[in-house]
Symmetry: C2
Subunit: 341 residues, 2 copies
Amino acid sequence: MKPTVHDIARSAGVSLATVDRVLNGRPGVRHVTRERVEQAISSLGYVRDVAAANLAKGRTYSFVFVLPNYDNSFMIGIRDEVHAAISRSGAERTQIRIVEVPPFDAAALADALNHIVPDRPDGVAFVAVEGLEVHAAVAGLKDAGIAVVTLVSDLPGSERDHFAGIDNHAAGRTAANLLGRFTGGRDGRIAVIAGSMLVRDHRERLEGFLAVMGESFARLDVLPVMEARDNPALTAEVVSAALGRYPDIIGLYSLGAGNRGMLHALREVAREARPVVVAHELTATTRAALSHDLIDAVLNQDAGHEVRSAIRVLKGKVEGLSVIAAQERIRIDIFLKDNMP
Amino acid sequence: MKPTVHDIARSAGVSLATVDRVLNGRPGVRHVTRERVEQAISSLGYVRDVAAANLAKGRTYSFVFVLPNYDNSFMIGIRDEVHAAISRSGAERTQIRIVEVPPFDAAALADALNHIVPDRPDGVAFVAVEGLEVHAAVAGLKDAGIAVVTLVSDLPGSERDHFAGIDNHAAGRTAANLLGRFTGGRDGRIAVIAGSMLVRDHRERLEGFLAVMGESFARLDVLPVMEARDNPALTAEVVSAALGRYPDIIGLYSLGAGNRGMLHALREVAREARPVVVAHELTATTRAALSHDLIDAVLNQDAGHEVRSAIRVLKGKVEGLSVIAAQERIRIDIFLKDNMP
DNA sequence: CTGAAAGCGCTTACAG
DNA sequence: CTGAAAGCGCTTACAG
């Protein structure tokens, strides 16, 4: 039988309360007693039953998710996943609240984070926007003993405990590789459409993309990035314009969330003249476009994984555990039409 | 506060024992009583605390994993994951045993399955090999009330409860798509190296591969499949021979586990003359080959996911729950050198 | 057919 | 610094 606290208590000749103190590193145990208990723990090979501990603690973790009120499919997916987590709250002993902020707005984000401090939740997860005020707000949360995780977009150099998102640099490299290979040795131009270079994840994707293009596909000429703020109409317009102006565009990398607009522009082009297209995030839109050969490959980050990982890490931080990096790494999925899930 | 069994008992005016009987569909409750309790359950919005239930039950699930004693990296990975699950046994209330059988041997597999019946475990997971005797063995397990899941390779048409593995047909299609695209419009031959067409997963991959090759890449001429029983030396030999005989092989699909041998043969070929290569399973070998541009893409099934999914499904079956298909679907991962995890 | 009581493996006031 | 007792939300003999 698996040893329990009772076995340890008996073996060490102490009470359950003392075993518990040692087990949880709580103060108020004489050194010799502690040692006796630790001895018993290791010699019996005790390992704590987390479920039972949680049941006894009756503890619930309070977390706040700060998300942009931004209606692209991916962000909607993230919100849905947070709601799914909320609906699992009972079983997972969490209490999760969502705070919405305007997108791409450092001041508003910092403000929202600062307002959370007095509530003293156990942890906060947020989609980072860069800005000194955001760094300061993170420091404020940490000072208040609140665990902090960035989600989807990171804030390196800040005091956040963890980033739950993909390596966007690697995503950009992967996109370049696919686009380079899929264009099959032909010469030509590559167009890149982004949301905004002010957002870190877009910037990193572009960097990775350009690096591989330079290293491995010198025959391809990458046009200056077009920033269309993930706005469908604007995206459609700039993509149309670019395709009109450069008939030798043979590849298109959509690294932001403007896929609907991009597809609109692409449909205007005769099938044989369409460029190879790599886009981000598997949504209803990109899924349909993959099946209809309008998009050739989709890079995806799994919103469910990200949200669940964020929650797991926050819980761990509250418990003072360290993150198991390998387990919490969010993968860059590649989907072609044949391996869509 | 979340309602508990106590709340239901109070609200329905019955004892905890009766609540428990209704909750778990156990007999011995008068119809009217049962209705009263059910009414309370739904009106209070009760949802059972599974962790507490498990604690009280003290139940452990006994499972047997029947695995081929086959030393390719992927199978070793599967075994490692089962061992990892065994080491989590305490926390997960499972008791898992591994039974090894010779690979590709239907009679031996059926024998092993038959021998498990008298032990009456709660569930069995096994890597299927086709054969009537295996179907019969599965029927025997099911007759004994044992949950049955196939792992990695399926046995459709049998009475198994679930298959924990990828859609190999889709994997083959994906491979064809990648290979077709990566060869970039050039004409030439494609070589396919497999373990054995007697194994269902290999056969399905080939079918999917050939289907897409026929549909979309008529310019490519697929050579007859080479079966090398996943044997490194033999694989090296046949691949070398093929490359020697057909200098216009521009693509290679390795759909089995013979990657080490294949790589050996590839390294003999001048860098510029090397074909585009798509292989299966991310292992130390294929990982290194990806980094060194010897392999261009790896399709992967996550052994950890498969094993954990198998265990989850077995537990669910024992509890009489139905599988949430979407959650248990095993993905076909695509890895290029830039998005390796 | 129904209920009172004990127990699963922990944690937590409270008392000393 | 240490311990006895109660309790977390369930389940399980046992008795009636």
